[in-house]
């Protein structure tokens, strides 16, 4: 992902939902996009697959993807959203699981027929073969009695089971990248633990890359190799999980990590907070978008220019004037 910009032109004004986002994910790697509501993490991955709701559109940037076979690297942002290549990538080579499994399945078709449809769309299989494959997949994601449950409707599944079915569907075409958008947010904590363990096992088995979108910093620590912290459409910090968690550099990352009530230790001290609240997307502050809430705000600098990316280590980057005075033009 290189310098991706996604803007929504609304009657009320221009929303810069994603404003110059760059990050990469290696084969077999797990990257987490983290941030609070409105930070653009979901829009970023939806743009990757040309799934933006109008009037959102990619204004700038490249989405470089090494697809199957010998094709080499291609720029997904330049492809026709409805063209044959994009349709092959979407759901086939890159697939997506959503936060609300209940809302992602059609309520009037059986779970099995929906997974089977996805299989037959991307793989050359007869109906009978697709059905056998669906049973195999459901069993692989831990749905009990898959031979029976294949003919059940989504309402007959619990939230956790439906999320498993969703994962089975996403993996049915052996994607190279799996995008998981808040896959456990709607689930209970014991179910969440099951789904996280399942995703980790499948990722190891298949060697696919995973882009994990979440606001839960505990889930990130558990799952990801690298983390990309976003705030109001911009990447403020990115790096290996350990570096970012133990030596966060950006004031936003630092504050975010301190504001979670710790599960360890009995101390009931005041939590560190971030002053104010996330601005409305139409009222994006000038300069560094975090400056009105930043404890280390430098007048004349942070509100005047957008900081460029500064390198802390080879793979740890931060966008903040505390670490370099260069700015984006």
């Amino acid at each position: 992902m290189e310098g991706l910009k996604v803007f929504f032109e609304l009657d009320e004004g221009l929303v810069r939902a994603v404003d110059g986002v760059s990050f990469s994910v290696d084969q077999g790697g797990v990257v987490a996009l983290v941030g609070e509501s409105g930070c653009g993490k979901t829009v970023t991955v939806r743009a990757m697959l040309h799934l933006l709701d109008p009037p959102g559109r990619i204004v700038e940037g490249r989405v470089l993807f090494r697809g199957d076979g010998v094709g080499g690297v291609e720029d997904l942002a330049g492809l026709d959203p409805d063209g044959p290549r994009m349709r092959k990538v979407r759901g086939g080579e890159i697939s997506l699981i959503f936060q609300e499994p209940m809302a992602s399945f059609s309520p009037v078709h059986t779970v099995g027929s929906q997974i089977g449809e996805a299989i037959r769309l991307h793989r050359d299989m007869t109906q009978r073969e697709a059905r056998a494959e669906t049973v195999r997949l459901l069993s692989a994601v831990g749905v009990p009695q898959p031979g029976q449950r294949i003919d059940e409707y989504p309402y007959q599944f619990s939230g956790g089971m439906l999320q498993r079915a969703m994962i089975a569907m996403a993996l049915s075409c052996r994607p190279r990248i799996l995008i998981a958008d808040e896959p456990t947010t709607a689930l209970d904590v014991t179910t969440q633990a099951q789904i996280l363990a399942l995703l980790r096992r499948l990722q190891k088995e298949t060697g696919m890359a995973v882009i994990f979108i979440t606001h839960n910093l505990g889930v990130v620590a558990e799952m990801a190799d690298a983390v990309v912290v976003m705030y109001l459409g911009a990447v403020v910090e990115k790096g290996p999980v350990k570096a970012v968690y133990h030596e966060p550099r950006h004031p936003y990352t630092q504050a975010l990590l301190k504001s979670i009530p710790p599960i360890r230790g009995g101390g009931r001290q005041r939590l560190a907070t971030i002053a104010g609240s996330i601005p409305h997307p139409l009222m994006r502050p000038s300069g560094c978008p975090f400056h009105p809430r930043c404890p280390r705000f430098m007048p004349g600098t942070c509100d005047a220019h957008e900081p460029a990316t500064a390198s802390i280590a080879s793979d740890h980057e931060v966008s903040c004037f505390l670490y370099g005075d260069e700015h984006r033009t």
Binding site: A193, V220, T273, I278
Partner: protein, 344 residues
Amino acid sequence: MISSPKADRNELTLLDVRGLKKHFPVRSGFLKREVGAVRAVDGVSFRIANGQTMGLVGESGCGKTTVARCILRAVDPTSGEVFFRMRNGDTVDIVAMPARQLRSIRRDVQMVFQNPFTSLNPRMTVMDIVGEPLLVNGMRDRKARADRVAELLRLVGLRTEYMRRFPHAFSGGQRQRIGIARALALHPRLLVADEPVSALDVSVQAQILNLTKELQERLRLTVLFVSHDLSVIRHVCDHVAVMYLGRIVEYAATDELFRAPRHPYTAALLSAVPDPDPRSRGRIVVTEGEVPSPADPPPGCHFHPRCPHAVARCRTETPMPWPPDTGRLVACHRAGDLKLEGIE
């Protein structure tokens, strides 16, 4: 007033819930005959001492919200007693109170809701939202009411100039502050907070948690804090009750419960929380299975089908809560001989 000789004589106890049950009938067929019941709350007992915060934690469907609603009589319990100590020292049973007397209780027991986007009327100004309980309770003078609303807004950290605005002009965190101001308008003594921060972003969540604690100390409030988030519970509560399928499985002082859980379900919950520290990766222990439907709970101990320590007795005999050490209650046949992992 209904004063019961059975009520707790301990003056420190503000709320004493005993054997609370709420069964929702399941109707089916043409005649809508009752074919069964969802035992949302199935015999819950606990006490909260004055000035303390008690947490009620559990997964969805465990009945924690229904307990909260029963205490407010937002739903009528099927059976049980909810003793509340009034300002004058009398103890009343909220469950037995006639509906028209409830207003006297509702001044003292107030609720903060989960979703600040749906719990405020979008067509009322902040002044009217926060002022409504004052008006209902006889504060007719508009000027006096405006002064009290301003005082409340300052208390929860909002600017008084915003009084004439409508809820849509506020962020989620600010709306939750408005909801808290409304709850505090009548100087309540018990605040029931049902997942008050789970709809908020973490940076805003921290602000509201700090505010809740500050207010509790300043106004010496007693709080029943309902949440599914164990880190939030550990941060704000003095005592915690863990619920599973309508029953309390364990009750203890917060740090004891986290350090050394005695019920396998408590241990399962604790081991499922992802710790925001990459060094503790892989600590999560997966508990198999799912929460069964409260319409058809397993016999014996409700947790036995998922419990790694279950024995034959657990399948048939419902465990009664017993104290393995002082200040703790656990409903598990094997709590005496199990050594369970907690979180330091």
